[in-house]
């Protein structure tokens, strides 16, 4: 049973022109199957952030194709791209990036607000997700009343609220201490096992090792792909690697 691809990059090139043209990404091809857990590693300047921005539909490639949730990002207008980002991508940031004046519940519900989801429905969904990340009793707290680990859980709940094709985590444990880091990564594992597609950018080996495979970036190219044995997921133009998976389903 061939698995669908959540995100696919085909020979993607991204060039910034700040004086000298800089090739942030120089011909990257990568397929991220649904339900997979991929880590991206690389030194700074290797193109991690650019890759994140492209997969997160925040930016468009200079050349090549980025397909997210079955749609080619480069071909979309700003509005469509924003819509795709809102529905198919969930962000988890190093600095949490919660809205400071919104309560935990409202932060989680925020992406659905922009999708025009009814208020009651929104709140129900957000409350449910907060329960699942273990913050059911913190729904009415403001971000500054929460610990770092709790904030990151709120952020994770927010990333999941629209049931996205992929969750993008950028150094998700960078601002956390060792214990909370373990907690949040356990939570990632938990959701991954529930079928969520995870893409984590990190420069820490032990964080990356939670994934099925590690993609090493260097100077805008994929240096190598390290398979951690979970599955033989396709890492190049051939996304046909298979794994018996409950694609997208909620099989806790």
């Amino acid at each position: 049973m061939a698995r669908e691809t959540a995100v696919r990059l085909s020979n993607v090139r991204k060039t910034y022109r700040i004086g000298e043209p800089v090739h942030a990404l120089d011909g990257v091809s990568l397929a991220v199957p649904q339900g997979s857990y991929t880590a991206i590693m690389g030194p700074s300047g290797s193109g991690k952030s650019t890759l994140m921005n492209l997969v997160g539909c925040l930016d468009t490639p200079t050349a090549g194709e980025v397909v997210v949730g079955g749609r080619e990002v480069g071909a979309l207008g700003d509005r469509e791209r924003t819509r795709l980002r809102g529905t198919e991508v969930g962000f988890v940031f190093q600095t949490f990036n919660l809205m400071p004046r919104l309560r935990a519940l409202e932060n989680v519900a925020l992406p659905q607000l922009f999708q025009g989801v009814d208020r009651t429905e929104r709140r129900e969904r957000a409350r449910d997700l907060l329960e699942r990340v273990g913050l059911g009793d913190r729904a009415d707290h403001l971000p500054n009343e929460l610990s770092g680990g709790q904030r990151q859980r709120v952020a994770l709940a927010r990333a999941l609220v629209n049931d996205p094709a992929i969750v993008l985590a950028d150094e998700p444990s960078g601002n956390l201490d060792t214990d909370t880091e373990a907690d949040i990564l356990d939570l990632f594992d938990e959701f991954h096992e529930g079928g969520t597609t995870m893409l984590v950018v990190t420069h820490e080996r032990h964080v990356a090792e939670r994934a099925d495979r590690i993609v090493h970036l260097l100077d805008g190219r994929i240096e190598r792909i390290e398979d951690l044995g979970g599955a033989a997921d396709g890492a190049t133009t051939d996304p046909t690697a298979s794994r018996t998976s409950e694609s997208g389903g909620d099989s806790e």
Binding site: L58, D59, F91, M99, L102, P111
Partner: protein
Amino acid sequence: MNPLESLRLSWRSIRGHKLRSALTTLGIVIGIAAVIAFVTLGASLQAGIIGDISPDDQRNVYGWAADPDTEGGPLAGAQPVFTQDDLEAVEGLEDVEAAYGYATIQTQAISNGNETVAQGNGLIASGPSYIREDRLSAGSQFEMGEREAVLNPAAANQFDENVTVGDELTVTILGGERTTLEVVGITDTSEGLSPFEGFESSPRVYVPTDPYYAEQASGLGIGGGEGGDGGSDGGDGSGESTGEGDGSGDDARFLAIIVEAESTDQSDIDAARESATAYLESDDSDASELLDDDLAVTFQTSTELLQQLQDILDLLRNFIVGIAAISLLVGSIGIANIMLVSVTERTREIGIMKAVGAQNRDVLGLFLTEAVILGVIGAILGTGLGLLAGYLGAQYIEIPLVYPLEYVALAVVVGVLVGILAGLYPAWRAARTDPIDALRYE
């Protein structure tokens, strides 16, 4: 995102910066309050003035001689040129019902029996029909040549024991001379009866020009020298006496005269005005001796005089509304400034919202809503404050309160408009913020 949600989120961020929002709103509050307070006062003042013209006043034309280039209200630049002869001749004209002089005699005090009150307003000397019969609440008009007076309620009630018809009062003229008068009537209003008097409520004593003005002007009868009767109203003209029983060599010349037309029809009024002017400018009149290129006779109805006053009021109001509008402009710049600061400060929040799927129009809507909320709050508070200030002002200068509701509505509209205009550019900047940069923003 629906408008209600925008409202909710915007309100949240306004409450998040209470002091800043309050100060921003203050500019709008002051601007709108100033506009409303002053248009309220202006409208009230006009109502106070226009409401005071009794219909029977409409047949009067008020005349004086002044340099034609003089600007201003009634009596501006007026010179005493009209003699009693002139008035009698004018009254004899076909189109004229009555003509009499108008003058004020400066006074120091009025005594009723043993009680004396200060009275600086003076005596108002004019003809009997100056006070219309239907303006009397008691008694009758005074008669020419008699030492009689009609008081208004404010003058009658200023004594411990109210003055009534039949009482005798002693008046101390400026300079110390005393004269007596018998009260023959009380009017029904304490406000002025003609534009010559002004319109404010104050104690007034109406007397016949003869004998009071004639005596004062000629320096006879009242018992003092000519220098004793002060003021601009002192006649210094010469001519033949027509005053009954005074027999003085000097006749009073009047600064101001009142000519009554036969009816309130505009054509009758114009006819009376024209014939009176024609006579006074002809060689038959005493006044013509003094009239030349720089001194011409002007006759105006109280409506026309009010129009001048109203023009001045309008000018004043426009001026103040202009100042208030500048304050509104400053207020709107304040809003724009605060919104720009707010956009910069919340760059990261904008980035977050865009990352989780906020469209440009959502962000635009949020910031615009915020600016409009500030504008509306400012407009509402400013309207309240302005209405209150207008009320207090009207109370203070004792005029009837009139709220120009169309201006109140306008103020609210302007508040919203100011909010939109001031918020548009910052909101647009917020909307086109690049989420990648915004998320990186520290």
